[in-house]
Amino acid sequence: MDIANLLSFGLNTLLPILAGVLLISIPLMISVAYLTLAERKVIAAMQLRKGPNIVGPFGLFQPFADAIKMITKETIVPSGANRLLFMLAPMMTFILAMVAWAVIPVGLDFNGNPLVLADINLGILYLFAVSSLGVYGIIVAGWASNSTYAFLGALRSAAQMVSYEVSIGFIIVTVVLLNGSMNLTDIVNAQKDYWNALLLFPMFILFFISALAETNRSPFDLPEGESEIVAGYFVEYSSMSFGLFFLGEYANMILMSAMTVLLFLGGWLPPLDIAAFHAIPALIWFLFKVAMVLFCFLWVRATMPRYRYDQLMRLGWKVFLPLSLAMVVLTAAYVVYGR
């Protein structure tokens, strides 16, 4: 392989991939930054407060101020901590939250092809695999910190995520059965007439609640329950290693919202098949829907009290699991006999 070949390989193959990665990850980071601001603003509005409003107009520069503060602080590694794993854990969380985006189709380009980095056949399985790996960042962080609070938080979190993954898996199976594909683009296109949220309404609700639990969000945020175990698995973290957890958690929120939209709310398809709606670009529809789901995440946080641990487990294993299992059987029966 000579230099010219190498150059053309770089230009033709690597560069587009690199550009795609940047095009996805940079807007994602900005979205995460502004999601934190949105959260504070929305919750403040629901509690009749103003929220951050000092840094910049309407507090718009607040996320950047937070970021600079975070970066300039000192990184502290507790004594007795497992240094390597301690530093590795937040990176794992963050990287896993990022790589999942490789298969998410965010809209259509000008030729009508899906805007996605890798349009793989088993996209949904890939997403599920990556999200099931997410638990390691947390459990390793809890163990490596050499702290009781952190360890307790990690155990809680891992048990919670593993439990809810089971029902998420079954919910995904119902969608796959109904749409007959594991490719995310195909799943969205199969929802042209009816969104899955209409056909599988109970599963939609279940998926949203499971997504809350999977991302450790309120009302299932007891891994970090600050009133009992101070801050759970990341209590020992400071500076940017804490920041990475923070970024990872919010990126995961956006990811789960995107999954909800793709699986149940018709992805980038407009709600009604009329010309006026089609005038709006697919990307805008997708982002709008994701924003709506994210708003629900924040809304739930502002209104619901936290679950107790046994209630959480009971809900996962005794309510969601049988319901989603029954729905798998029903959907399969419909697919075989119903049409």
Partner: protein, 199 residues
């Protein structure tokens, strides 16, 4: 390119498998085991079995290894103590290891791939990997598939039989009863005259 990647994945898998056995800290062992699983998943991916690759990642890495990690972290196993008998059993272990090693070398020298095996790949028949798997799973291999289901059922029954204990005096939340309460049963409204209180 594929060959190069295969050797990377396979080499890393063997290396991490060795570290699983030699690591002093059991938690590290489990983490290396996870690395080995992920590399195995990569090898599957290179072989064109992407469904198996992802299922391996989901089931083994996402669920089984997490439970491993749970147990290992909480048990706090002391490997040094377990290795106390190491010296005593060393000669037998070494002899057995050499025996197995000789057998493996014999195997690798005689390794020939049967022609029928190489043509059994499903990638060139037009159906996707997942579909091909589903087809044989519910036809030719239905007995083994359903039998495996029964094996899992036995494992579940066994785990429950051997561990479930009914403890007395434990208060459990009965959500049905809680939700089914009526105002008339729990609340009594009285009008209180000022300065008198309720007896």
């Amino acid at each position: 390119m594929v060959e190069f990647l295969f050797y990377i994945f396979a080499g890393l898998m063997v290396l991490s498998a060795i570290v699983v056995v030699t690591a002093r800290n059991p938690v590290h062992s489990v983490l290396w085991l996870i690395v080995a699983f992920l590399n195995a998943s990569g090898v599957f991916m290179l072989a064109g079995a992407e469904f198996l690759a992802l299922i391996l990642a989901i089931v083994y890495v996402g669920a089984v290894a997490v439970l491993f990690l749970f147990v290992v972290m909480m048990l706090d196993v002391d490997f040094e103590q377990l290795r106390g008998n190491f010296k005593k059993n060393l000669p037998a272990g070494v002899a057995l290891g050499i025996l197995l090693m000789v057998e493996l070398v014999m195997l690798s020298l005689s390794w020939r791939v049967v022609p029928a095996v190489t043509t059994a790949s499903s990638s060139d028949t037009g159906v996707t990997n997942t579909e091909a798997l589903g087809r044989v799973l519910y036809t030719d291999y239905i007995v083994a598939f359903q039998g495996a289901g029964l094996v899992l059922l036995v494992a579940m029954i066994g785990a429950i039989v051997l561990t479930l204990r009914k403890r007395d005096g434990v208060r459990k939340q009965n959500i049905g009863v809680q939700v089914g309460r009526k105002i008339s049963e729990t609340l009594e409204i009285r009008s209180v005259k000022s300065g008198e209180g309720i007896s």
